[in-house]
């Protein structure tokens, strides 16, 4: 028993050492071989299964198909963990197969459902078990993951593809001044609406009659509420019943992200530079301040405008609900929008993207007052990211794989396949023409690209709570939100409870450690990252 513990502690210790000495770890230098893929050749996925016939040209560079095919990794096994198929999981499997063909490496991929991914990653990492070489996971876990990650070597940072990644997403990949995550996806929350419903003359007339306002894409959360209530119960083009809003509300799903979207405009004061979740100085939680409470009130109030089961929707439900035309509005990641724009979608090109709704007032935690000013914030919610484990014996092959995964040709194709869940993260991706080529209407494409691009320039930014123990904080938050939505507690009570728990979590995890990490988040928010 005691020996076991000693062994465990020793293993954990040795792992820390390994991490400290990182950089010396990579032992599998690639042998050169004859390139098997022609420079600038056509890249297509069609030989790998039922994929679009689209081809694209291989873009020259160290990560290209051509360059990769000149590497010989035969005898090397890469152990890769990724999310379940199809989201991220499917491209991981696909690129693993391609990488394997090009280099001779053996790539074993395991796909894990979202709810299990964190523990599946963190348990072996902490125990010093060299379980994975390459890991794909949500970027907000960086605080917990960072100690176990291999920083991205300079030569990869210098590639053209990496240099084109937007600032926001490079910020996301950085910890303590080091780029430890390899960007493969860009994510944010924004608003999606059904234009056919919003522009339907009868709807417009009735809305005007009922509310005295014009029916349009909501710009504030109260307008969102009003429009959602109005549209609930109306009929769509095929006579199908429509509900106002689809949101992620399932407690142990991604509800915390949805709630942060709703809270951003109420609680992220453009002038308050001291933190969104906490007061960065005192580490006092701000989660139960009036801005957050108001957002939760809104969240609770939307329930009647949700589809059946809408108070237990996971992300998948939200995507299918909006993408399938059941809900008129929705806000979260790109997926629902891309789903609505699939070639066989009933509402293709009947949708538009827009910034998250804003508010007419915003809580200033520094003054402790509501400021009556219109406010809006961009929520760079977590997206998928990738990294190489410090314990990996094959760091070079691992980075080459990620580099190949995200090369220009692959990304161009991946972005087109909605279920892959890979969304624009390079400046090159913010181009309406690219989307129009996919058959999107000019309006849809433009609204999409503009929305994303505008977010990049929004100075009022919210990032996830990128600190160690983030899952505990978010789990606690989701539990509080769910309790309020289930009517078990009032919004204030629920969030007071969350604040209490957050304090306890901070104590447990270590206040200094959390605070140090949180200061980095605040820097990101303030654009100082």
């Amino acid at each position: 028993m005691k020996r076991n513990l000693t062994a465990t502690v020793l293993l954990v210790g040795s792992l820390v050492l390994t991490t400290a000495c990182s950089g010396t770890g990579g032992s599998s230098a690639a042998k050169e071989k004859e390139a098997t893929f022609p420079a600038g050749g056509d890249v297509s996925y069609s030989k790998y299964g039922d994929y679009p016939q689209t081809t694209t040209k291989d873009v020259e560079g160290p990560c290209s198909w051509h360059a990769t095919s000149a590497k010989d990794y035969s005898g090397v096994t890469l152990k890769v963990i990724s999310h379940a198929v199809p989201v991220l999981g499917e491209p991981t499997v696909l690129h693993a197969k391609q990488f394997s063909e090009l280099t001779g490496a053996k790539v074993d991929v395991v796909n894990v459902p979202f709810g299990e991914l964190y523990q599946k990653l963190i348990t072996p990492l902490q125990a010093g078990q060299p379980a994975y070489d390459v890991m794909f996971y949500p970027s907000l876990w960086i605080g917990d993951m960072a100690p176990y990650l291999e920083p991205v070597p300079q030569q990869y940072l210098d590639t053209a593809g990496m240099k084109d990644v937007t600032k926001a997403f490079m910020d996301v990949a950085t910890w303590d001044g080091k780029v430890v995550q390899y960007p493969v996806d860009g994510d944010r929350h924004y608003l999606k609406v059904r234009t056919d419903l919003l522009t339907d003359p009868k709807n417009m007339a009735d809305y005007k009659a009922e509310t005295g306002d014009d029916l349009r894409v909501p710009t504030t959360w109260s307008e969102y509420q009003q429009v959602a209530e109005f549209l609930t119960g109306r009929k769509g083009a095929q006579g199908e019943a429509v509900f106002g809003s689809a949101e992620v509300t399932k407690r142990d799903d991604l509800t915390f992200s949805a709630f942060i979207s709703r809270a951003a405009a109420y609680a992220k004061h453009p002038d308050a530079k001291g933190g969104f979740f906490f007061d960065a100085e005192t580490m006092e939680p701000l989660i139960n301040t009036p801005g957050w409470v108001k957002a939760l009130d809104d969240f609770v109030a939307i329930a009647p405008s949700l589809p059946p089961g809408g108070t237990n929707f996971g992300l998948g439900d939200e995507i299918l609900s909006f993408g399938g035309g059941q809900a008129a509005m929705s806000y979260s990641w790109d997926d629902a929008f891309i789903q609505a724009q699939q070639p066989d979608s009933p509402i293709r090109n009947e949708v538009a993207a827009a910034q998250l709704p804003g508010t007419d007032e915003v809580w200033n935690p520094e003054t402790g007052q509501w400021d009556k000013q219109p406010n809006q914030a961009a929520y760079f919610t977590w997206g998928w990211t990738s990294a190489v484990a410090g314990s990996s014996k094959n760091t070079e092959a691992a980075f080459d794989f990620l580099c190949f995964f995200s090369n220009e040709a692959n990304t161009a194709l991946d972005l087109q396949i909605g279920r892959f869940g890979i969304n624009p993260y390079r400046n090159a991706h913010f181009d309406a023409a690219f989307w129009e080529e996919q058959g999107w209407s000019a309006e849809a494409a433009t609204s999409y690209v503009e929305t994303l691009a505008d977010m990049e320039t929004n100075p009022n930014r919210v990032f996830d709570l990128r600190v160690p123990g983030v899952n505990q904080y978010m789990s606690s938050l989701a539990t509080g939100v769910a309790a309020a939505m289930a009517g078990q507690k009032s919004s204030q009570e629920a969030l007071d409870g969350v604040a209490q728990e957050w304090k306890a979590i901070t104590e447990q995890v270590g206040k200094d450690e959390v605070q140090a990490a949180y200061r980095n988040v605040v820097k990101l928010e303030n654009g100082e990252g």
């Binding site: 963990i81 125990a127 379980a131 199908e240 799903d253």
Partner: protein, 280 residues
């Protein structure tokens, strides 16, 4: 005399048959759907209400966008068979001992020892999994079939012992006594006189072991990483944020097949009546 008991019997059977079959029927029809047949409104009948496609079935055998279930299937089979076999061997030996000899370990007598075995099932998996992790890590058995087999044996052993003790209790002890008198050591008596006559008990034990072994998701999931994936793991990996209902359905059905064979087998023993006493 009224005929209502007969009627109640048929009513119960019909209702329960429908209830039992419902998820399977739903999974079968769903496995032939695609995203359009799932969205919007509920459909049941292929061709009439939606255009059936074999896509989901292609996907579970390695088609694009799916997961290949063949490898995990083989893993599951190997692990289940090996673990069940070991659990039954160890379990049968222990059960035979407990049925035939009197033990006394401290204050514990035979009944208590049997209870000790069975009581292991009380342990919630969550309690066991982290220690198991470290237990397997030391000899480097994480992410290996062997490691998983060892853990599965521990989970199955109580079941095997429970079934077999009662079964052996029902075999006249004179048979093995006689074998001993006829020159068999107790071990030979067990192997030559008892085991050949224990098919029903071994079958039931094997069934329970196979069911619990095959269906274990929790431990398999947490004690392997990339090298060993079992079927439930692979199927559950489909049930993430955007569950492809069709693939999930096909996968669920695929995973049931081996156990369906088992159900038929068990029923045959039941019908022959020689499970009597094996499950008590």
């Amino acid at each position: 005399m009224s005929r209502w008991p007969r009627r109640a019997q048929y009513l119960l059977l019909i209702v329960w048959a429908v209830f039992t079959a419902m998820p399977f029927l739903w999974a079968i029809t769903t496995s032939f759907k695609d995203v359009n047949a799932v969205q919007g409104h509920v459909t049941y009948v292929p061709w009439l209400e939606f255009e059936p496609t074999l896509e989901a079935w292609r996907q579970i055998f390695g088609g694009a966008g799916g997961v290949n279930l063949v490898g995990p299937f083989v893993n599951s089979l190997i692990i289940t068979v090996c673990a069940s076999a070991i659990a039954i061997v160890l379990g049968a030996l222990a059960a035979y001992g407990l049925s035939r000899f009197r033990y006394r370990i401290g204050p514990a007598k035979n009944k208590d020892i049997v209870f000790f075995f069975v009581s292991q099932r009380i342990m919630p998996p969550v309690v066991l999994v982290i220690p198991f992790f470290f237990l397997l890590q030391m000899p480097g058995l994480l992410d290996t079939r062997l490691g998983l087999i060892i853990v599965t044996v521990a989970l199955l052993l109580p079941i095997a012992v429970w079934v077999m003790v009662d079964f052996f209790d029902n075999i006249p002890r004179e048979i093995d006594e006689m074998a001993m008198l006829e020159g068999c050591t107790p071990m030979q008596a067990f192997l030559r006189a008892i085991v050949p006559n224990s098919a029903p008990g071994l079958t039931v034990a094997a069934m329970f072991c196979a069911v619990f072994g095959w269906n274990d998701f929790f431990f398999a999931f947490r004690l392997t990483f990339t090298q060993v994936q079992t079927l439930p793991q692979a199927v559950v990996a489909l049930n993430s944020s955007i569950p492809p209902w069709w693939t999930l359905s096909a996968a669920a059905l695929f995973g049931i097949i081996p156990l369906l064979v088992l159900a038929v087998l068990v029923e045959r023993y039941l019908s022959k009546g020689n499970l009597a006493g094996a499950v008590r």
